[in-house]
Symmetry: C2
Subunit: 590 residues, 2 copies
């Protein structure tokens, strides 16, 4: 295997040719340098972003066959940073050198209808409904069948929302078709409108040997159809994130080429409370992707390096996150004037003063409306820390977040409002335990820890308890607080079915003053611990949960020290008042 | 302030000239690109490591005044990646452009005797003894006074152990002096031999406004006087690491120039068990440093970017680690032959297959003995994970580590053997509690969690208890397990004086069967939680500690799931045996 061999010369390990020299090529070149690879880009603009930092540039159009072949002859492997390349030229180049992803893959994905049809034919990839159209009548017929609005898309050369049109009604079909260049055969296709709650994305890397690895599922937030913010991991249940990864991996596994793929997905809206949400494939780009920029700081091997490893036939790198959470903010041009320059630079200027913020300026020749000129990624030990830092960079609240970064809202409300997923699950055997447990919720909220509150009864809902406990880790919970009274089996049973730390709160019932609950919860057999707190003291359960989380999130240890200092101050004030008032008067005049 | 202003052109933010174009310049250029800065290097070797990836090179000697001035005229700020530059030329260049660190700083540090004298004069920096020598007789006199061996050093042009000689005895003085070019006036100086336990290093960045920030203290391990491995954080008590940072910050605060500084330190050996260890300054290099390479992956802003921020007058970046631990391994040339090439490449080849390993190949023209040709940094969520990954990259045990990565040894033994610092403190009120607590130690060892075991009595050693609790977080502990019987105040009192989670183990005494201890430990007042486990069940205390650590260290959650599956298997075997043997015979024939 290539990986175990030393380079044939110590100077460079291998040379890579890249079609396109924008910011994706630039960041690819930076990853290549670390691997000791020589990078040559093909781009029409002399001194393009990638050329500024790489070994050499072939000045030419990356769609021009002669230029592609000229580059191919100079390198060990040819790849691309953009999908709008000349697939036929890539096919020819593969006679000269290794070409990845394959020309076949490029041809399939370039035609977005053919791409969708490819995934439909392959099976195993959840898709919304879509259909080829060859006339305005076809479009109108689809709308009549599926309802309005209808999504009309150009099959080729679409990016950043360009090439898409939302058709609100049958009357608007001609105008929409005209805006996309006309509805002649082979030009357009339609998609049934998908009411989605959020847009998700998953980066997937595929090795030359077909091995597929995915990164954690992220959430993308668009502004004027251009990616503006990416939140990693996505602020949805961990089980849904896993589902998104499976859909994305299944899609990429059907494509023959090696490299990194950006997979865009929709998370459907719930039509009713009980209905499960679905993850649908939107589209796949066979290249590094804006929704994967967070991987540079946040993951063990970033999307650019993993792309190079894949196309060079090296072992794939780990896709695991090495931080608790990350948020990427694009610097998008607001126009071309002087004021626009300042506004565009804004996130980067604020990023310079934000801890945990990493700047990436692309070195483009100018700024114009909607142009991506740089990005900032913030990392944090927790979703709350990353969100607060992202808001410092944005200069405004994180899109779709609950008011007050840190997901102060608890339970289902938190998810619905777009806060980070809950880290602490607060469950109780019965709603009669809620008066005891309310204090726990208040403490967690005051520390800005996202949490959920629900009823899980060991004896009345044993299946639910088992499901809750078994899924807790995958869903993203880190700590469980469980309250129960009397026989009080809930905390211990949950502890038996999760590797997470479980805190038990003994709830006092009518008889025995809670000692029954205490003993039931604390006297667990060897092998399954349950962290027990004082009878009825859910405040301490929440404080203990915060201390546990602080093992991973130092900002919570700082907050706990502040809380302790505050307690001390409060008591010292009472000391002073008692000493100045005297014990006889104390409390009487208050 | 410069930070809040947009670039004057969107193309580049600022241009930086770098004296020297080796790997430090190369990594500096990579950081500059992210900030949108243009980099020009001055180096005699065309296509040197930095020139391969930066905007332009001035081919010339970085000690040649004309070349330095030529570079200075092209850039907004001039800096260096090597300290052996022409300080006089830098002084002249400062009339042309901004020069950082200042020529004055360079002049002071280039002469290692002058550097030491500077710190001695400044005060507040702990130093070993040193002395100027102008003859072999001076050297012999110092040895006679301080004892042998004696450290003899060249005042100028020393690096990677070159320019240093250990003089074992008076007889060896002439040979040692000759090896360093002779003991004439101004050439050499001597240092009293420092018996050190470990070599430490701290990277410190100093802004133009004098603001000083340090990174976490690391441990450096040399091979043949060249840096081989860097371990972050250093495997010493957190209080000592803080002390090292204070010494390093104090030293850098005395220097006038802006930029990053590599500060090398010694941690002295303990002469006797009770004696405190000292942190002594060894030397300071006013540039990015090998012991700071780990910051690229492990810290919120790396040493190269922070150097650029400092010299460009931008706000300094956060020096906080964003991972639990990191280890850097240098790829050092083993010679110039074909086999050497393969051996040299070894760590990088192994790094390609190691999760969490990041490769850095420098693109040097050839490999030769001791030459640094690249490095690999592994990160991990815990010191154990980082150590295991580092060993995969090294292909051998981590230098100075206890046998079996993961610091299986407990207590003082762990530190002495060079394992990672303890994450769990196991304390008990009396040695009579040890039989109860031994099981906790065994569980922690089986999970590979580094821990310490000691006696801390609330009632007999209240001062010690207070010190233990108050220092626990700073020392690096993440969880405390405290056992006590009867009145059992230890767990709760410790919990009152630390923000860490505290697990209480009620120890049963002669009377009351442990219920007294249980109630004393669990019934804590609102505000101070103590996670209580079953009476006498220290196994569960340790398992709970592992679950708590797993909040930060996912590999421990995986290990806990495996432990739970194993428990289930063990019971299922008993089920099978009982069912096949029958209840009458079960246990009788065993």
């Amino acid at each position: 295997m290539a990986a175990s061999k030393p380079p044939t010369t110590a100077k460079v390990w291998r040379s890579v040719g890249v079609l396109g020299g924008g910011q994706l090529g630039r960041m690819m070149a930076e990853a290549a340098h670390r691997l000791g690879a020589r990078v040559v880009v093909l781009d029409p603009t002399e001194g393009c972003p990638a050329a500024q930092v790489c070994h050499a540039q072939v000045v030419g159009d990356f769609r021009d066959k002669a230029s592609v072949l000229e580059l191919a002859r100079q390198v060990d492997v040819l790849t691309c940073e953009i999908e709008h390349v000349n697939a036929a030229a890539m096919a020819e180049a593969s006679a000269v050198t290794t070409v990845e992803p394959s020309a076949e893959t490029m041809a399939v994905v370039q035609d977005k209808f053919a791409q969708k049809q490819h995934f439909a034919d392959a099976g195993g990839v959840s898709l919304g409904e879509f259909r080829e159209v060859s006339s305005e009548a076809d479009i109108a017929a689809a709308g009549a069948e599926w309802g309005w609005p209808l999504m009309l898309k150009a099959r080729r050369m679409a990016y950043d929302g360009k090439g898409n049109a939302v058709v609100p009604s049958a009357e608007q079909v001609p105008a929409a078709a005209a805006a996309l260049g006309g509805a002649g055969p082979g030009a357009l296709y339609v998609e049934k409108w998908v009411p989605f709650e959020r847009e998700l994305a998953v980066m997937v890397v595929r090795g030359r040997d077909g091995e597929v690895r995915s990164y954690d599922c992220v959430e993308t937030v668009q502004r004027d159809s251009v990616c503006h913010v990416v939140i990693a991991p996505a602020r949805v249940d961990g089980v849904l994130r896993e589902q998104a990864r499976r859909v994305a991996e299944a899609a990429v596994a059907t494509l023959p080429g090696a490299g990194i793929y950006g997979v865009e997905l929709f998370l459907t809206q719930r039509a009713s409370a009980g209905e499960p949400q679905r993850v649908l494939l939107n589209e796949v780009a066979p290249r590094p992707h804006n929704s994967g920029h967070f991987t540079i700081e946040a993951c063990e091997c970033d999307q650019f390096e993993n792309h190079l490893r894949a196309v060079m036939g090296l072992p794939l790198g780990s896709t695991a996150m090495r931080v608790g959470a990350a948020v990427m903010v694009n610097a998008l041009g607001t126009g071309s004037g002087d004021a626009d320059l300042e506004a565009t630079w804004g996130p980067l200027a604020r990023g310079l003063s934000t801890p945990g913020a990493a700047l990436h300026w692309y070195g483009k020749a100018g700024v114009r409306l909607g142009r991506k000129v740089g990005h900032v990624t913030v990392t944090g030990s927790s979703p709350m820390e990353a969100a607060a830092r992202a808001e410092a960079v944005l200069g405004e609240p994180l899109p779709g977040a609950a008011a007050g970064a840190g997901g102060a809202a608890g339970g289902a409300a938190s998810a619905a409002m777009g806060g980070p997923g809950p880290l602490v699950g607060v469950i109780m055997g019965s709603d009669s335990d809620l008066p005891t447990m309310r204090a726990a919720a208040e403490v967690l909220r005051s520390f800005g820890v996202p949490f959920e509150v629900s009823i899980v009864s060991a004896h009345r809902t044993p299946d639910r308890m088992m499901q809750y406990a078994r899924q807790a880790r995958a869903r993203g919970l880190r700590v469980i607080i469980a309250a129960a009274g009397g026989a009080a089996h809930l905390p211990g049973m949950v502890a038996a079915m999760t590797p997470l730390p479980v805190i038990g709160v003994p709830v006092p019932l009518k008889h025995l003053d809670g000692v029954d609950s205490l003993h039931s919860i604390v006297q667990m057999p060897r092998g399954v611990p349950c962290a027990t707190v004082a009878i009825g003291n859910s405040t301490n359960a929440a404080l203990l949960a915060v201390r546990m989380l602080s093992v991973a999130m130092p900002h919570l240890a700082d907050a706990m020290e502040a809380y302790q200092a505050d307690m001390e101050r409060t008591v010292m004030e009472k000391v002073e008042r008692l000493e100045s008032t005297g014990w006889e008067a104390y409390g009487r005049s208050d």
